[in-house]
């Protein structure tokens, strides 16, 4: 099975071809945002402030940004800043720009202190961004194997259909993707609580399995430390109003999206896995943070598998473009949600319930659609210029 993708210098394969503009420190974020508005085909990542963050969180911000720049959906990169160096070590020239440069894609930098100030930097950055946009466009789509694809999934607005007819269809897709040599990723550490004993058995490497269990134990301890019943936090009210009763029930339905392949490793938020196959990312579940983390880990197509029992009629999809450089394919396993929100949904396996379609058959249909989106067809979310609120998953205090 084949699709038409962009082959990058490091061998990775993209399905979109953006010019990414970012600042090497929050202080120059306005410059990046201004230039992005003026130049076609750009994406701009406005990062959270690194000032007053502990080393671990600063590393997470830098890792996220480096990962976004290395993502195969990015054809060229422009880094702007106040100065080349002088901030926290994570954003020093060699550590930040040097790391991005390793992937070999067209890249430029603009620093205000070496070009005469902010307004001069706007002009210079605009000129360089326009050149980069044209340079990126010189990469043409070519036929590549399904196995070149990196994907990730999050489930959300969960209801009973999530575990019955939605997530199992993604699991089927992921089994096929992994068999073809691709990379698949799932996450959401709160939402494996109650199902971790089933997931850990599938880790191929014992040390990686231990990392996974430690992550689950850490998050459950964080949940207990709130002094609250987790059920007042997660399942979220939308889940409970749609019929999900406990976190354990939500988790058992959620893990079906991982399929049946062995799990190769447990990575941090925004960490790029070392190999192919199925991976677990230790991350917060929020769709404002997770799709970004997936993109930074190399996913070129994210799936948002929603139950949606709680949705109003004619619902707009939440967080349509939070992958920033990675499109989101919205799907549901609920025939009712598809009827309510068909204008925003890219795929429905509600037929598993309404017509008793076999899961394997729905998985095959999803795979056929994935190859189309990978070859350039826009997802419904991509047809809108929605700038979603995007967060990086930070765990430390503001100091």
């Amino acid at each position: 099975m084949k699709f038409l993708g962009y082959i990058r210098a490091d061998g990775s394969v993209g399905i979109r071809n953006y010019t990414l503009i970012m600042a090497n420190g929050r202080g120059a974020a306005n410059l990046a945002a201004l230039v992005a508005k003026l130049v076609r085909g750009t994406r701009c990542f406005v990062q959270p402030n690194e000032n007053g963050r502990d080393g671990e969180d600063r590393k997470t911000i830098a890792r996220t940004m480096i990962g976004l720049a290395r993502n195969a959906n990015v054809g060229a990169v422009l880094i702007v800043g106040n100065k080349k160096d002088g901030g926290y070590p994570e954003f020093a020239y060699d550590a930040f720009v040097g790391e991005i440069a390793k992937c070999g894609k067209p890249m430029e930098t603009v620093f205000m202190d070496s070009c005469g100030g902010f307004q001069q930097a706007v002009g210079l950055a605009m000129r360089k961004a326009r050149q980069l946009a044209q340079k990126a466009s010189e990469c043409f789509r070519r036929e590549v194997d399904l196995g070149a694809l990196n994907m990730a999934v999050k489930c959300g607005y969960s209801d009973a259909t999530s575990g019955m007819s939605g997530n199992p269809v993604v699991g089927e897709l992921f089994d096929r993707l992994v068999q073809a040599g691709g990379r698949a990723m799932f996450a959401e550490t709160t939402e494996v609580i109650g199902a971790e004993h089933l997931v850990v058995k599938r880790f191929a490497d014992e040390a990686e399995g231990r990392k996974f269990l430690e992550a689950v134990a850490r998050v459950e301890e964080e949940a207990r430390s709130t002094g609250e019943d987790i059920r007042t936090i997660n399942p979220i009210p939308a889940n409970i109003q749609a019929g999900l009763t406990t976190l354990e029930e939500k988790s058992l339905g959620a893990i079906a999206k991982s399929g049946t392949s062995p799990i190769r490793g447990c990575v941090k938020y925004a960490e790029i896995p070392a190999g192919r196959g199925l991976y677990y990312m230790d991350s917060w579940m929020s769709s404002t943070a997770l799709f970004l983390g997936f993109a930074a880990s190399g996913s070129v197509l994210n799936i948002f598998q929603v139950g949606g029992g709680w949705f109003p009629d004619d619902a707009m999809m939440p967080t349509a473009n939070t992958g920033l450089v990675t499109p989101t394919l919205f799907m549901t396993g609920s025939p009712r949600t598809f009827a309510k929100a068909h204008q925003e949904m890219d795929f429905s396996s509600g037929t598993v319930i309404s017509e008793r379609e076999p899961i394997a058959h729905a998985g095959e249909r999803l795979l056929a659609d994935v190859l189309q989106y990978a070859s350039g067809r826009l997802t419904k979310g991509e047809t809108m210029n929605v700038d979603d609120n995007i967060e990086v998953y930070l765990r430390g205090p503001g100091l």
């Binding site: 430390s225 749609a242 019929g243 009763t245 406990t246 354990e248």
Partner: protein
């Protein structure tokens, strides 16, 4: 006759795939065996019904796994949800119940 889906023969709850009202006859098939019961409550699409009587404190089983415990005795055909089920995990509000 209304339909619910039961994920495993070990489960003691099933999931409504249409809106069930009290008094409806409900049918499900699991492992080739078909069974019926009368709904005691409304069980909307996506909500759960008890397939058998579950004593107070008894495990709620779905996907062959424990998803919570009965906060009170639950009878066959009753809706099973937050009003009669407690979660066992991530409980910061009470000492560990594992």
């Amino acid at each position: 006759m209304k339909a619910i889906i039961v994920m495993s023969s070990k489960d003691n709850v099933g999931c409504a795939v249409e809106d069930i009202v009290a008094g409806d006859e409900v049918s499900y098939t699991v492992d080739g065996r078909t069974a019926t019961f009368i709904a005691k409550d409304a069980v909307p699409f996506g909500f759960k019904a008890a397939l058998q009587d579950i004593p107070a404190g008894g495990d709620i089983i779905k996907y062959k796994e424990v998803v919570g415990k009965a906060a009170m005795a639950i009878q066959t055909g009753e809706c099973v949800h937050v009003h009669n089920v407690e979660g066992k995990r991530g409980r910061g509000d009470i000492p560990e119940v594992k």
